[in-house]
Symmetry: C2
Subunit: 560 residues, 2 copies
């Protein structure tokens, strides 16, 4: 597909010469406006990054003011009448843009920019202000509710968010179901209709796989002569590990995956994050490290590196021009890149076969009894399956079940079928049903995540979409890249990275939805079967399960 406008200026269909020239001029003006918005978004991100990483504690209140002023400035630019006029002129000719010499990327950018403009214009200013206020008071109430372990302190916030979101949906896209409106914000085109069967297809296979693993663990641990691999839990690799050394190693690993430090940074923050000041030229990763935990900080770094590689892989010229089609099409696909590098690569046996000697060199005194052969122990330890109350600590098998229960609760809240007051009870009942454990209080239960305090309903499903996209992509990559597993074993990540760059990163939002892009790459629409197969194979082997339950069922589901 063509990209950028090189050579396309002045091209015109028969008789369309004047229109083409005029439209090209309008498009250039549009680019000017869009690249201003892009610059301002980057400024906003710098304010956030600095706040999380380096800002002194007393700077907080003034930073809030700066964020509010910049948000108003961004909004004014996004709803600028001139921007609207340019878009109007281009969209009335939308069907003809291709024959008038516009590239696919330019056409997609007109589509995206027009959509952004219309939606921002339709959102009442008063509602946006109300949402901004509730974002800050809502998080405060959420923190207080957690501290006092009292859901009733948070319930009114949830109530107001539901009202705001319903009003917003009614104003911006009244045709759409309100939860679909929420989903669409984070994952374009995702709907209850598409996600209900998707989640249905993973629910039982995962519950069953988890049940089998736990049963096997129980049997082995009760065994007089247990299989030694069950001894390799995360705890068996706890100890005292210099944070400075962990950081140095984590940074090196991110660099070897291909993150470019001439165009990025790596720092510490309380919550690991990736933030683009200006993609692909200035992309910043953060991670956090614990003295007692060898793997968490390193794996979090690999996760953020995956996000960072996506941002650094975007189309440089299109980014410079502020073209919105250079953006990722949704959060699910973004998450697929972080999960692919963290879980599918960074938690694989091959990866640690390669890097284990380096861990030993760096932490020789903390790991006195380990030898070069112990990489498999480490691999097993970091892949330990152990249900947790807390989503962010969840293993790969449990994680989608954490998401499923949130999806079901969100849906119920937004269609009104679930009263707010019932959330704690439903949460706990679903935890019991899906994961077999019940949190001892709401702080470890339905109050654990910040998302609903920010009104971010519809966000959670993108985590599991990401996991599934990652499996689908890796399956295709393994077919198209010779010796991919061998490359990983040798620490050669360029083939996979370049493949992802070409197939995904530079493509941006040329397709309107991630699902279309995924189908284009893999030949298949969203489908959990290869994710389930991957889990069955991996954990079937690690836990020596006789029947890879999930895989069988998924293959059946897939065939039907």
């Amino acid at each position: 597909m063509g990209r950028g406008g090189i050579g396309s200026d002045g091209v015109s269909g028969g008789g369309g010469g004047v229109v083409a020239g005029e439209l090209r001029e309008v498009f250039e003006k549009l680019k000017g406006k869009l690249s201003e918005i892009n610059s301002l978004e980057g400024v906003r991100n710098l304010l956030t990054w600095d706040q999380q990483v380096f800002m002194p504690v007393n700077g907080g209140a003034a930073r809030g003011e700066q964020q509010a002023v910049i948000a108003r400035v961004v909004h004014a630019h996004q709803t600028d009448e001139a921007l609207g006029e340019y878009l109007e002129k281009l969209t009335v000719q939308f069907g003809k843009l291709q024959e008038l010499g516009f590239s696919q990327l330019e056409i997609a950018s007109v589509r995206e920019a027009a959509r952004d403009y219309t939606r921002t214009k339709k959102k009442p200013v008063e509602l946006a202000a109300r949402a901004a206020r509730l974002e800050s008071t809502g998080v405060g109430a959420w923190q207080k509710a957690r501290k006092e372990n009292d859901f009733s302190l948070f319930a009114p916030v949830l109530q107001e968010w539901l009202e705001i979101v319903r009003e917003e949906a009614a104003a911006v896209d009244p045709e759409l179901d309100v939860y679909d409106f929420c989903l669409d914000k984070y994952e374009r085109g995702a709907t209850r209709k598409s996600l209900d069967p998707f989640f249905a297809s993973i629910k039982n296979p995962l519950i069953e796989l988890l049940r089998q693993i736990l049963k096997k663990r129980e049997e082995e641990e009760g065994n007089n002569n247990p299989n030694p691999q069950f001894l390799h839990t995360k705890e068996s690799f706890s100890g005292s590990f210099s944070v400075e050394t962990q950081k140095r190693l984590a940074k090196k690993l991110s660099e070897e995956l291909g993150f470019e430090y001439a165009s990025g940074r790596f720092d510490e923050s309380v919550h690991p994050m990736t933030i683009n000041i200006v993609s692909p030229f200035d992309v910043r990763l953060t991670s956090r490290f614990s003295e007692t935990d060898l793997s968490a900080g390193i794996l979090a770094t690999l996760h953020e590196t995956g996000h960072g590689l996506y941002e650094q892989g975007r189309d440089a010229q299109a980014c410079k021009d502020g073209l919105p089609a250079s953006r990722p099409p949704g959060l699910g696909l973004h998450e697929s890149q972080s999960l692919l590098w963290e879980k599918q690569v960074g938690m694989s046996a091959e990866y640690w076969e390669h890097y284990w000697p380096e861990v030993l060199t760096n932490f020789s005194t903390s790991l006195p009894n380990k030898t070069a052969e112990d990489s498999t122990q480490f691999h097993k330890a970091i892949n330990e399956i152990k249900p947790s109350f807390i989503r962010v600590y969840a293993d790969e098998v449990s994680y989608p079940l954490h998401i499923l229960l949130r999806y079901e609760i969100e849906k119920g809240l937004l269609d009104g079928s679930l009263p707010i007051a019932d959330v704690p009870a439903v949460w706990n009942q679903k935890m019991k049903e899906y994961l077999g454990i019940v949190p001892k209080n709401d702080t470890e239960g339905c109050l654990q995540d910040i998302h609903w305090g920010l009104g971010a309903f519809g966000y959670f499903p993108t985590y599991t979409l990401g996991a599934v996209y990652a499996s689908m992509l890796l399956k295709t990559a393994e077919k198209q890249i010779p010796q991919l597993r061998q490359c990983i074993k040798e620490g050669q990540f360029k083939p996979l990275r370049e493949w992802l760059r070409e197939k995904i990163h530079v493509v941006g939002s040329l397709y309107e939805t991630a699902d279309e892009l995924i189908e284009n790459i893999t030949g298949t629409k969203l489908d959990a079967s290869c994710f389930l197969s991957y889990l069955s194979r991996k954990y079937g082997a690690l836990y020596d399960l006789s029947t890879p339950a999930a895989e069988t069922k998924a293959d059946v589901a897939n065939a039907s």
Copy 2:
């Protein structure tokens, strides 16, 4: 003097009730606008700070775009019609504001805001854009000229700056002499008429003091039995000093001077700087360190700490409200704070008597033969008088002579009496006359500073105004603070810091010029005599001069 509007709302003179209430409302709206501008200026500063300290190298071009967009946004806010209306309403009643219950700080803020608004409005947008372009190309040309040691590459930039500055002066303040217009940008109220006699009063005494010191050095060095103190040059304290240790020590010293790290940061950058993200809540210092030089990085840190203490000492509520009267009245006074802490405190015998043991503890292996008694050696070494071609490396006695020659050249360029092509020759001739040395090329001569490449004519004098203000302030402080020198010897800086805070930092621009504020504090208008006395006393003692030449002449000059 009263500060903030507490209790003043609703106060009204006889019959002025309605006006007072209305004006108060207008003033509140004005504050809203001003605090937005203030927030945006802070954002701009964050972009600059990040660029100098942490930005990855490939982020440069996009950062330039972000800076340009924010500059336009700031300009739009500064010239907002509503802002103009509020100011109009307040300034027509300016003479009555006090009786209508406005505080001095509020009244001064109206004065400052109206001045800013009028001047920004008058400056043609096209001229501002031309200046912005030349700022970037001018610095490029300056760098190239330096690299190739070819003044002719820089001359056209100088020519264009002169044109721009003349046009700007004609548009903004046609009554004012054009160089006075330049001076006024950095030091309100400074004029050729005030600075000519000021510089005349320091020129001969400093040339004479320098001559005496150099003569004495020459005699002693040629002596068969030299005075050992002449052996204590900066070089005698060169060696290998861990940069990490220097940074730790420098940070500790800044903290002990009173810089608050809950409201600030300390980092490294190529050019040491102080930048206020939001004073007094978020103020950031940087310094640079060299492995081979023990004192430069530490002294640069003390210098920046002086600037930082000013910013952290500003009136918090007035800053929050964005009131421009909370700002320092000019660069000279700002520089007085950095020089006071760096030179008058940080390069004093008392200061190093206190901190020398700490230096020894931190650098015991790098300073193997030094003992607790050697603090006087170190004090002499850091105060070594040795003319340099380069302003930023100049000692306290030579520095004003570097400034004087720049002042004379700038004046000549702007009044047309000095052709651009003659700058190199005049520079070298004045170097010979004032400092007794001639640079071997223009890179070490008239191309050494960035200021003219940025069109910043009129900036240089503020360095020497700062040095003189610092002496005037310290002289008064010594009268008003009991045992000030003893405090410094004991590492007690709070009395001096609090005195400066009360007399200067919180006062902001309540007075329109620094000169008025200085007179109010010291009882004297700008006068170099106590600066000259300070230099004579200090270096007369260090270099064992029989006749403290400068002091005598200055006292005569002062008495006449």
